[in-house]
């Protein structure tokens, strides 16, 4: 079922595109920081946690975990400090919504972050931004300066007595720093090796203290819920499935990133649950060059693949899973037209994950590298049908879900393998028969083309 878009008005993106949208004065002219002042005056931290719980807000960083619930896992009456880490490492291929928010409306993010810190009783927040966002970085530094000068940060936020510092921290070009415990290790000055959980960060996080990690868009939603209320938030999106008591629903607006082979790539705001068709046609102007779509990534490359005849998939937290994908992820849709070879797609995906695996777990380190070697060989015309089963074996056995790795990067590496080969198997087979007519049926061991060098991380 399609979501009605006739009255769709951007909220998270409402200020974007104006020349001064990033300045404090412009933000305040739109009522910025008034919601924060009201909360500091009228609400206790636990009231704010309850408000966010009532809204059913789920994290926008990829896992969709209920935000209010995450906050309530913090130990009660902890002597402190409790730390907040804002996850602005955004590196999932296809994803750029955090960048738009941070470049164009940095104060919206900061107000949301302050509210989240107040709710969680954090007095120090680390704003962890990926290195490759120099413009967002510069605007963040400026916005923080503005906040300190205006008494919005520091010893007494807006005169309330609530003390908060936000420290910007810059990454160094590694995807794994977006995984929350990888981020924590990186922040501590170590290699970004994700931690085994439990303990969860809420119990023992950065500097061995209780820690909350949230995504940039998540805290922006917190600010909007404070301003507009729970009823507004829950008026958008897809309600919880009454038959599934564990489904928290998919409420609120979402920033969808659309790229690849569409006429108008961009970041678009719509209620959770629009279909891929709606995103591509209503917002993206359709597939480019009057071509047909062949496939799409539903939510960042980690989430796998949808075939063109699956574009009725609703982009809510439960939708992509029903189509065999890993989940909604970052809601970054990448469209591929009919000319794209799935061999090339899968090679690109495998190369990314082999490059970004932190190397800590053997199944992930070896599995991603082995998959890449095989795909290089297949692409070079030396593929054998047997390789597809070997690739699937990797896909089916690496990750948190099969229980063989520490973090979800491996699940993200696995899903494109599983979806591409299971949904497009005949294309891979035809490619092998065509490019390797004498050897495609071979089943004995073959050497890789060359040993891969792991230059970098």
């Amino acid at each position: 079922m399609e979501i009605d878009l006739t009255n769709n008005t951007p909220v998270l993106l409402s200020r974007i595109g104006r020349p001064e949208s990033h300045t404090l004065s412009d933000y305040r002219a739109d009522g910025g920081y008034e919601g924060l002042a009201r909360v500091l005056r009228d609400m206790k931290p636990e009231d704010l946690i309850q408000l966010i719980k009532d809204s059913s807000l789920r994290g926008r960083g990829g896992a969709g975990f209920p935000t209010g619930l995450k906050w309530s896992f913090l130990p009660k009456d902890h002597p402190g400090p409790i730390y907040f880490c804002l996850n602005a490492d955004e590196s999932e291929p296809g994803t750029f919504n955090n960048r738009i928010l941070m470049e164009e409306d940095p104060h919206q993010v900061i107000e949301g972050l302050i509210l989240a810190c107040y709710a969680t009783r954090s007095v120090t927040a680390y704003y962890y931004m990926r290195y490759e966002y120099p413009r967002a970085w510069e605007r963040l530094l400026k916005a923080l300066d503005e906040c300190y000068s205006a008494g919005i940060l520091g010893k007494s936020v807006l005169g309330s007595g609530f003390c908060l510092d936000i420290f910007p921290h810059r990454g160094a070009a590694a995807y794994i720093c977006g995984e929350e415990t990888g981020l924590i290790e990186s922040l501590e000055g170590k290699r970004a090796w994700p931690r085994i959980k439990p303990p969860f960060p809420a119990v023992e996080g950065v500097f061995r203290k209780p820690t909350v990690v949230n995504n940039v868009e998540t805290v922006a939603c917190v600010k909007q819920i404070v301003d507009r209320g729970v009823d507004w938030f829950k008026s958008l999106g897809v309600p919880a499935d009454p038959k599934n008591p564990r489904d928290p629903g998919s409420y609120g607006p979402k920033l969808y990133c659309l790229s690849g082979h569409v006429e108008r790539p961009g970041c678009y705001e719509a209620p959770l649950g629009i279909t891929v068709h709606q995103l591509v046609d209503h917002f993206g102007g359709g597939v480019w060059k009057n071509r047909h779509a062949k496939a799409a990534i539903p939510g960042g490359i980690s989430m796998g693949l949808l075939k063109a005849d699956e574009f009725d998939c609703p982009l809510d937290f439960a939708g992509p899973g029903r189509y065999g994908c890993l989940g909604l992820g970052t809601a970054a849709v990448v469209v591929m037209d009919e000319t794209v070879s799935m061999v090339d797609f899968l090679h690109n995906s495998a190369r990314f994950f082999a490059h970004e695996s932190c190397g800590q777990c053997t199944p992930c380190r070896e599995g991603t590298a082995w998959a890449l070697r095989m795909l290089e060989r297949i692409r070079a015309g030396r593929g054998r049908l047997k390789d597809l089963d070997l690739l699937l074996e990797i896909g089916d056995t690496i990750g948190i879900m099969p229980g063989t790795t520490i973090c979800g990067l491996a699940d993200g590496a696995a899903w494109p393998l599983k979806n591409a080969i299971r949904k497009f198997r005949s294309e891979f087979e035809e490619y092998m028969q065509r490019t390797n007519p004498s050897g495609y049926q071979q089943t004995d061991a073959v050497p890789a083309l060359s040993s891969l060098s792991h230059g970098g991380h």
């Binding site: 400090p81 955004e90 590196s91 999932e92 291929p93 296809g94 994803t95 750029f96 955090n98 960048r99 990926r130 290195y131 490759e132 966002y133 120099p134 413009r135 510069e138 510092d165 420290f167 921290h169 810059r170 990454g171 160094a172 070009a173 590694a174 995807y175 990186s186 922040l187 501590e188 000055g189 170590k190 290699r191 970004a192 500097f207 990133c257 659309l258 790229s259 690849g260 082979h261 790539p265 961009g266 970041c267 990534i297 490359i301 970054a332 990448v334 591929m336 794209v340 090339d344 797609f345 690109n348 995906s349 190369r351 990314f352 490059h355 970004e356 932190c358 230059g455 970098g456 991380h457």
Partner: protein, 172 residues
């Protein structure tokens, strides 16, 4: 300034400006080790690489062993150690949204024109050209980050203009 830091034997590569900039971070974190990444960025900003001697000196400042700093540094593959990167350091995206719109061809074209391989620096030291993974600007695909400048919708022509503008066209 009185200092309790151990002095090492080689000539120091961290000047006072860098040291002061690094020390400014101390108050932000409950541990010195957390200043590792900020310190590496400071040194890389000034020297365009972080030689081993700098690692030793950062370790002294942060009261760590050089091995701890080197361990972190080597994880990222971001900080050159052998030689400085070029005056401009550019990353051309090779991830999926850019690849679908010709990103890999642009990178190959640029490397051919600058007569270097990805990861290398032109002989005149003007440009280091690297591949990057998704730069978070997929709506501008194919794109690159050149220093602090995000350049979108790259074509063979616009990428050559960029090479010419930084003096990296067929120099080596």
């Amino acid at each position: 300034m009185p200092s309790t830091e151990k002095k090492s034997n080689s000539t120091p590569v961290l000047n006072n400006e860098m040291r002061d900039e690094i020390r400014k971070y101390f108050a932000r974190y409950p541990t010195r080790q957390a200043v590792t990444l900020p310190a590496l960025h400071v040194v890389n900003k000034y020297l365009r690489h972080v030689p081993l001697q700098a690692v030793v000196e950062i370790a002294e400042l942060l009261e760590l062993s050089p091995a701890q700093v080197q361990d972190t540094l080597s994880f990222y593959g971001f900080f050159p150690q052998q030689a400085p990167h070029g005056e401009v350091r550019a990353w051309v995206c090779r991830s999926i949204s850019c690849a679908l719109r010709g990103g890999e061809e642009v990178l190959a074209h640029m490397c051919a024109k600058a007569k270097i391989q990805p990861g290398e620096t032109t002989a005149n030291g003007k440009l280091t050209l690297e591949f990057g993974e998704c730069l978070g600007a997929c709506e501008l695909a194919p794109c690159m980050l050149a220093g602090d400048q995000l350049v979108g919708h790259l074509t063979a022509e616009s990428s050559e203009e960029f090479l010419a503008s930084c003096g990296a066209l067929g120099t080596s």
